[in-house]
């Protein structure tokens, strides 16, 4: 299987290890990733508020580049925000004549054109098809035996509901299924699709911290020993901001947060450092060892 790969901006900063681990497991599972050349910002929902035509044009530039990569090639991204933005732009470019006209003009200025035909996938979607789960299951060498994990999907990967959204907006199952294949135990997590606050942490820190605190509290109450997510922004909030939450509310969580690609990598026998597990704020490697998960060091 071959995909045009759009890493998204967070792949170079807070989601570095997400990008790295996705590339590694794609290789291990014979999924070919060809980077979209000179990709730029997807537009993002923030630009959408400021100027929808501008946001759609920024999306379309990247999608036009994907179209040039070959007939019928489909795109995959690890960023939930980019996934949502691209889908939204595609939908507007199919149905909204005003936006279509503006985007066409904007792309002409950079000698590009886009026909709104590129299919957009999230890495979680690509790695949890029955076929992918079967391949993963055959290649597991280090199952995550009995690890109790809260499957945290966040918002953008399941909402809003587009024509071809791959999972349920209220009670998605893809991550749950994957965890079972990896040998882990998904706990029943009431907040699996509840928003982490996203960029509110930058604009209204105290509100953001309170939202994160709730997610961590309910994960703990559900019996989870760690959390897994397919979103770099959720990871930033849950892992990087966790010490801040602990300080603000005088509450200790000690809740490691993994990208789902890292858990796949561990089960496939990849080294924790290759997967960037040492890059997290909440210690992960000592945690895994304490849970009796066999990890290569």
């Amino acid at each position: 299987m071959k995909y045009a790969y759009y890493p998204g901006c967070s792949a170079n900063t807070s989601g570095k290890e997400y990008n790295r681990s996705f590339r590694l497991i794609a290789k291990a599972l014979d999924i070919e990733l060809v980077d979209v050349p000179d990709w730029t910002c997807c537009g993002s929902h923030i630009t959408y508020v400021f100027n929808p035509a501008l946001a759609a044009s920024l999306s379309a530039r990247n999608l036009a580049l994907v179209e040039k990569m070959g007939e019928g090639i489909e795109m995959v991204t690890i960023c939930s925000g980019c996934y949502q933005t691209f889908k939204r732009s595609n939908e507007l470019l199919k149905h909204d004549a005003t936006i279509q006209a503006k985007v066409k003009e904007a792309l002409e200025a950079v000698n590009l054109s886009y026909n709104a035909n590129v299919k957009i996938h999230h890495a979680l979607e690509v790695l949890t098809t029955q076929e992918a789960l079967d391949t993963i299951s055959k290649k597991i060498t280090k199952p995550l035996k009995g690890l109790k994990v809260a499957p945290y999907y966040g918002c953008a990967v399941v909402r809003p509901k587009f024509e071809d959204t791959f999972d349920d907006p209220e009670n998605p199952q893809s991550l749950d299924r994957l965890l079972k294949v990896l040998g882990a135990e998904p706990v029943f997590y009431i907040d699996k699709v509840r928003c982490c606050g996203g960029v509110l942490i930058m604009k209204q820190e105290r509100v953001g911290l309170e939202m994160i605190r709730r997610l961590l509290t309910n994960a703990k109450r559900a019996g989870a020993e760690c959390i897994v997510t397919p979103c770099a922004l959720c990871h930033l909030n849950l892992d990087i901001m966790q010490p801040k939450v602990e300080r603000a509310f005088k509450q200790k969580f000690n809740m490691p947060v993994f990208f789902f690609t890292q858990l796949i990598g561990l089960a496939l026998g990849l080294k924790p450092t290759e997967l960037g597990l040492h890059k997290h704020m909440v210690p992960t490697i000592s945690f895994l060892q304490s849970k009796g998960v066999e990890v290569l060091v």
Partner: protein, 191 residues
């Protein structure tokens, strides 16, 4: 939450407010009158605890034409754009899109959203200049200087973990700048 005791005065009212909003929302605007105040949006909203008006109250204020309270509410800026309300509304109202459009209207009107405007402008500026977004560059730009100083130790730890880099990533910024120029120029012509 403390009880809201606003007195609606004539200056707060714009009788054309609902119609304007509906028009801007296009097809989606047609659903606005269908709101029957069930409150599923407010019950689903993960940020409702911090808002001055809940999403349900905003819907009612829209119908009452109280533009001033809507556009100066904290609600529209606290909306985290998570779409929980939109997927659950039994009347099929895309409330997240309503919030987006209210934000747009507030940003256009010098009376509202002054503090918020800076965030959007700085975000756009980072994209225009670099072609890509760098969370740290954005964080530093958006944060008040005092908060940046308070977070220095935290920043250092992130740097050690390789989570932030000092030089922002850039890509085809010239092309992105051209797209900006083109789209924003046609907007100005239109006005």
């Amino acid at each position: 939450m403390s009880p809201v005791t606003h007195k609606i005065t004539p200056e707060m009212i714009d009788p054309t407010f609902e119609a304007t909003l509906k028009k801007r929302l296009g097809e989606k605007g047609k659903k606005i009158p269908l709101c029957f105040q069930c409150g599923v949006c407010s019950g689903s909203c993960p940020v409702a605890f911090a808002m001055d008006f809940t999403p349900r109250q905003i819907m009612e204020l829209i119908k009452l034409g109280v533009k001033d309270l809507v556009l100066s509410s904290s609600t529209i800026w606290l909306c985290a754009a998570c779409y929980s309300c939109s997927v659950r509304c039994p009347q099929g109202i895309d409330l997240k899109q309503v919030m987006d459009t209210l934000k747009e209207m507030a940003l256009e009107d010098p009376k509202y959203g002054k503090a918020e405007k800076a965030f959007y402008e700085k975000f756009i500026e980072v994209v225009r200049r670099n072609g890509r977004v760098d969370e740290v560059a954005l964080y530093v730009k958006v944060m008040p200087k005092s908060a940046v100083m308070r977070n220095l130790g935290f920043g250092l730890k992130l740097y050690q973990k390789g989570k932030i880099k000092l030089s922002p990533s850039k890509s085809s910024a010239d092309q992105v700048a051209k797209i900006f120029e083109k789209v924003l120029a046609t907007e100005v012509q239109k006005q």
